[in-house]
């Protein structure tokens, strides 16, 4: 319950945060909402020597209509994404996914940037932004760069973020009226998904990503390709696990996960096609 001791610094700007993390390197971690990092630290599964609190970095909490996409500041809380009129209108799949993160107390504090940077394949937002073809804007000592979500997730809790880089914005393409569905299968509502599916579908085009089906969020490209080629929903859904490599754990064996994935992908596509 009591974390190991650490040093703590507050950054008031992205530039300051980056300069601090450059000083301390891999001993330092960013602290945004803290709802991915602090639970690990309380069990002493993570023991960073330095926490750089970016929770007060100005102007990183926003949701803007930027024309073809929504620009969401990395420090935007899940609750704000969940309730935003703009997100409901242009990226309702994301609003729905955000409403499923943890519970309402968690959603008041956790941030979309924190969740994505943490890169947990069992989290809802990495898979959802992946399905939506999002781009993540990242800032480092040499300036900003954009990383497509499909290139961002490298391994379990590993992303393309360098040690001295900070996620600053998430760009989510507008859904333009596409049908969508978020299927989160768990035993208790507050739990991580045993398997989750984020899907959208419009006129033969689909985007499907899987939660907790591998060491990273999984883009189910076989499913999307099959839909594009005119396959039926159930035939496409049968391919749900093609890109996945699910683990067996306390809640589910890997073969049950694979079965669940095809059921949930089918249900998601059916709902998204109504």
């Amino acid at each position: 319950m009591i974390p190991a001791a650490f040093d703590y610094k507050r950054a008031t700007s992205a530039a300051e945060a980056i300069s601090l993390v450059s000083q301390y390197g891999s001993d330092a971690k960013f602290l945004a909402g803290g709802h991915s990092l602090l639970p690990l630290m309380k069990l002493r599964l993570a023991q960073p020597a330095m926490l750089i609190d970016i929770g007060r970095v100005k102007d990183l909490s926003y949701i803007k209509d930027a024309g073809s996409h929504l620009a969401i500041g990395a420090l935007t809380r899940h609750m704000d994404v969940e309730t935003s009129k703009v997100v409901h209108e242009h990226a309702p799949l994301l609003a729905k996914a955000a409403s499923h993160v943890g519970d309402s107390q968690v959603r008041h504090r956790g941030t979309i940037g924190g969740s994505i940077a943490h890169a947990d394949p069992a989290s809802d937002l990495p898979a959802t932004t992946l399905a939506l073809g999002a781009t993540y804007v990242v800032q480092g000592p040499k300036g900003q760069r954009e990383i497509a979500a499909s290139n961002f997730y490298k391994g379990f809790l590993e992303s393309d973020l360098a040690a001295d880089e900070m996620l600053v914005e998430i760009r989510v393409p507008k859904m333009q009226g596409a049908g969508w569905s978020f299927q989160k299968f768990n035993r208790r509502a507050q739990d991580w998904a045993i398997v989750g599916v984020a899907a959208w579908h419009r006129k033969g085009e689909a985007g499907v990503a899987l939660v907790n089906m591998g060491s990273t969020p999984i883009l189910a490209t076989s499913v999307a390709n099959a839909i594009a080629k005119g396959a039926s929903i159930s035939d496409a859904a049968a391919l749900a696990s093609n890109e996945a490599d699910p683990q067996s754990d306390l809640n589910a064996s890997s073969d049950y996960r694979k079965h669940l994935a095809s059921v949930l992908v089918r249900r998601a596509l059916e709902a998204a096609s109504k």
């Binding site: 319950m1 009591i2 190991a4 001791a5 069990l43 002493r44 299968f185 035993r187 208790r188 509502a189 507050q190 739990d191 045993i194 306390l250 809640n251 589910a252 064996s253 049950y256 079965h259 669940l260 059921v263 949930l264």
Partner: protein, 797 residues
């Protein structure tokens, strides 16, 4: 005495709001870890990460250097602190094997969580940091995790015992020798079922906490502990520490739930006491949740083989049961007795002849010790008989409710002397069952089921039920003697009317959420004709309530509440003699109603209790031989167990594609005799039912083959939240107990006892069309789905 159902009276039977609530709601109430004890040292315990290992060495040098750390003790260091090993109060058989168990392991650890070192520091943070700095070298040994493996004695845990078996306990009741085997040979129908009662983690929301405070001189020590058993703890800690009992005072502050997990004598209590005396300073300890799951006792843990023999009408002719009980690594306070508390109940609510063959063998495992958890042996028994009845109904191809009706003990048969010789004092199983059926709209559900459960349907409707009764109100002391239980089953009460007509009730019960203060005040108020607000209820402090046997086993009302009523009777008797003297009449001429003694036929010749109380205090005009003051003390030993009963029913929908189960409705009809406060009774049923539902669908202490607990915190061990469980529709019947004047039976565990088989039988009913006849607990989505696959041979429909 005539027992009548409660008529609405001024207080008893009303939904009086609880006086316990305001301090709990405002945060003023003090739980043990809220107590501010200046100068307290903080204890943490370093625990073994291995289920079974030799301790080769313990190096505390680095930890001692941490600022704030005062001392670190190993098991060897503290050997001289103990006059005896940790107590087990229930040596169930004369040859029961009980390995010596000390607060810290000495040469060997026997479960993950077994304490290895005690760290004392000036603050909690330092004591926590020190845990990471202690270097223990272990030599791991093969862990014995599986019950059947333990039984085989291939790897023996406590080598000094020569076996993993702690005891074998039989209960064979035969009208004629060999009649059980005969009945099975002759049976028209028989079933043989195997069930597993998975280990559960009680998860009271308040983790255990302790503060031991030595008095500045004289050797006295006060133990504040989040405990259900202050009185038992006082005696047991004094004995284990080898100090005079009168030096120990135990106080249970507000306690945040227990469910049996705080009915124990724990290593940390003894460590806090011993170290506080050693250091002459208060010592406090609180467990973290992921520590609680391993360092606090777990519940259940059985493999059951149940057989029923029945005639052509489905009337049961014999019952045969073999159980293997999982003790865990050591015997805690009542560990060995828990499976036996259900031993008498494997024929459930059914009328059977004397043909009952029960045997339980309990074994050690390299896992957390088990002990009482809500129901303690009776949920396990009820599950077995109710699920076996379902199996029998399937074998006979008749409706299971119909089968039950053919076997229920009938109302006219009560008081019913069972095969065991125990007398079930009252009951009406058919009445409760029919009420449940009506409330469930049985016919409507079956009609809906017919419409919905067509071939190819992926959402299947199921109806489940269970009829239970339970044996609680622990307990008649001489029956406990025959079971070799080391303590009695009485309860004590003192009732005192103070000069200003305020009433003090001192009870030996120890509430932790059950509303005793409100309920006992209602009993005394009713008896004495005072307002409940004028009754003060004192409890949970052995300096104030000197006598008692505390709270567990649904005993507090049928034993403790009745003791209060009896003490009130004594007070009224004494008051009557004073009134007669002061009114100059005979005691037989007096009646007592609404708090006033009056002469029968001359209502103007009257004296209120208030006047009597004041007169007893002044002692100016008391009858010859009458002592001043108006109080009475009673120690009440109940003549029998009490036997609440009921029928639960539920409707589930199973998603066959995922295995997910949703409970659409849950109906609980329970009979706890007369109800003192229906609000509190319903609350106990709600809570008990949800724990039973959680057992059926969500919870299991999962261990890997090396004895590591995989579900070791509240993220992994699935205590459900509000959205994960249904609302509970409660009904009741009332058959007052004839063995006590209040007609009460206790209700604390009944909900849990009825629920699990209700839910599991519903799932099986939903899937019966797919050929499913069994379902393991917890019926997780994966388990349900895999069971469906196995029944349909994995083929697609």
């Amino acid at each position: 005495m005539t027992i009548t159902e409660n008529k609405p009276t001024s207080v008893i039977g009303t939904r009086l709001l609880r006086r316990e609530d305001p301090p709990l709601l405002t945060g003023e109430a003090k739980f043990t870890n809220d107590l501010n004890i200046p100068g307290a040292l903080h204890l943490t315990v370093l625990r073994s990460p291995y289920a079974h290992a030799k301790i080769k060495s313990i190096d505390v040098s680095a930890a001692l250097k941490i600022a704030g750390v005062i001392a670190i003790y190993t098991g060897k260091d503290l050997q001289s602190s103990w006059a005896s090993p940790m107590p087990c109060a229930w040596p169930v058989t004369p040859d029961m094997k009980n390995p010596a168990h000390y607060p810290l392991a000495i040469d060997k650890v026997n479960y993950v969580g077994d304490g290895v070192a005690a760290i004392l520091a000036t603050n909690e943070v330092a004591s926590r940091d020190a845990l990471d700095a202690i270097d223990v070298q272990y030599e791991p040994l093969k862990a014995v995790v599986d019950l059947e493996d333990s039984l085989s004695d291939k790897n023996i845990i406590h080598t000094e015992l020569g076996t993993n078996k702690s005891y074998t306990w039989p209960l064979l009741v035969e009208e004629t020798p060999g009649c059980v085997e005969e009945a099975f040979k002759k049976a028209k129908y028989k079933v043989k079922e195997r069930y597993v009662q998975q280990r559960l983690i009680p998860m009271a929301m308040e983790p255990r906490a302790i503060v031991a405070v030595p008095q500045p001189f004289g050797g006295d020590i006060t133990l504040y502990s989040s405990t259900q058993i202050p009185h038992i703890l006082k005696v047991m800690t004094a004995l284990t520490l080898g100090i005079p009992e009168q030096q120990v005072r135990v106080v249970a502050p507000s306690v945040g739930g227990g469910f049996g997990s705080k009915l124990d004598v724990y290593a940390e209590e003894l460590l806090c006491m011993a170290l506080s005396r050693k250091h002459n300073a208060p010592v406090r300890w609180v467990e973290e949740r992921s520590e609680n799951t391993q360092a606090t006792i777990q519940g259940r843990g059985q493999i059951q083989h149940v057989e029923l023999a029945a005639d052509e009408n489905g009337k049961i002719t014999a019952v045969r049961v073999r159980i293997v009980g999982d003790m865990g690594a050591y015997l805690q306070l009542v560990t060995p007795g828990v499976p036996l508390l259900g031993a008498f109940l494997y024929a459930g609510v059914y009328d059977i002849p004397k043909a009952y063959d029960f045997e339980c063998t309990s074994v050690f495992t390299n896992l957390t010790p088990t002990d009482a958890y809500r129901g303690a042996g009776r949920p396990e028994a009820t599950y077995a008989i109710e699920m076996a009845m379902e199996a029998l109904a399937r074998a006979m191809k008749i409706d299971s409710f119909e089968l039950r009706k053919r076997n229920y003990i009938k109302k006219e048969q009560f008081p019913y002397v069972a095969f065991s010789g125990l007398t079930y004092d009252s009951g009406d199983h058919l009445l409760a069952a029919e009420k449940a059926a009506k409330m469930t709209d049985l016919a409507g559900v079956r009609a809906q089921q017919k419409k919905q459960n067509v071939p190819g349907a992926t959402k299947l409707l199921g109806l489940g039920m269970s009829s239970y009764f339970e044996m609680c109100g622990l307990a008649p002391s001489r029956v406990l003697a025959s079971l070799n239980y080391s303590a009695g089953g009485w309860e004590a009460a003192t009732v005192r009317v103070l000069p200003t007509n305020k009433v003090q009730v001192i009870t030996g019960t120890s509430p932790h959420g059950q509303g005793h203060e409100t309920s006992w005040a209602m009993i005394a108020a009713e008896k004495l004709g005072v307002a409940p607000e004028d009754v003060d209820v004192l409890h949970s402090d052995t300096a104030i309530s000197a006598l008692g046997l505390d709270t567990y086993g649904s005993r507090s009302l049928p034993v403790g509440g009745v003791a209060i009523a009896l003490a009130c009777d004594k007070v009224i008797e004494k008051a009557k003699t004073i009134a007669a003297h002061q009114l100059e009449c005979a005691t037989e001429d007096l009646q007592f109603a609404n708090g006033t003694f009056s002469v029968k036929g001359s209502p103007d010749r009257a004296l209120p209790l208030a006047a009597i109380a004041f007169g007893a205090f002044t002692a100016h005009n008391l009858p010859e031989g009458c002592e001043p003051n108006l109080e009475a003390q009673v120690s009440y030993d109940p003549p029998n167990f009490s036997w609440p009963f009921g029928t639960h029913m539920c409707v589930v929908e199973v998603d066959t594609e995922t295995g997910a189960v949703e409970i659409l409705k849950y109906i609980a009809v329970d009979d706890c005799g007369n109800q003192i406060n229906p609000l509190i009774v319903e609350g106990q049923v709600h809570g008990g039912v949800v724990q039973g539902i959680a057992q059926a669908l969500f919870e299991e202490a999962v261990y890997d083959e090396d004895g590591n607990l995989k579900s070791s915190n509240l993220a992994e061990y699935l205590v459900p939240a509000a959205c994960d469980v249904p609302s509970i529709t409660t009904g009741h019947t009332i058959t007052p107990s004839p063995t006590n004047q209040l007609g009460v039976k206790g209700i604390g565990e009944a909900g849990t006892i009825g629920a699990a088989p209700t839910v599991i039988s519903a799932i099986i009913d939903a899937l019966s069309g797919l050929g499913v006849t069994t379902m393991a607990m917890p019926a997780s989505p994966q388990t349900v789905w895999k069971t469906i696959q196995a029944a349909t041979s994995g083929g697609k429909k």
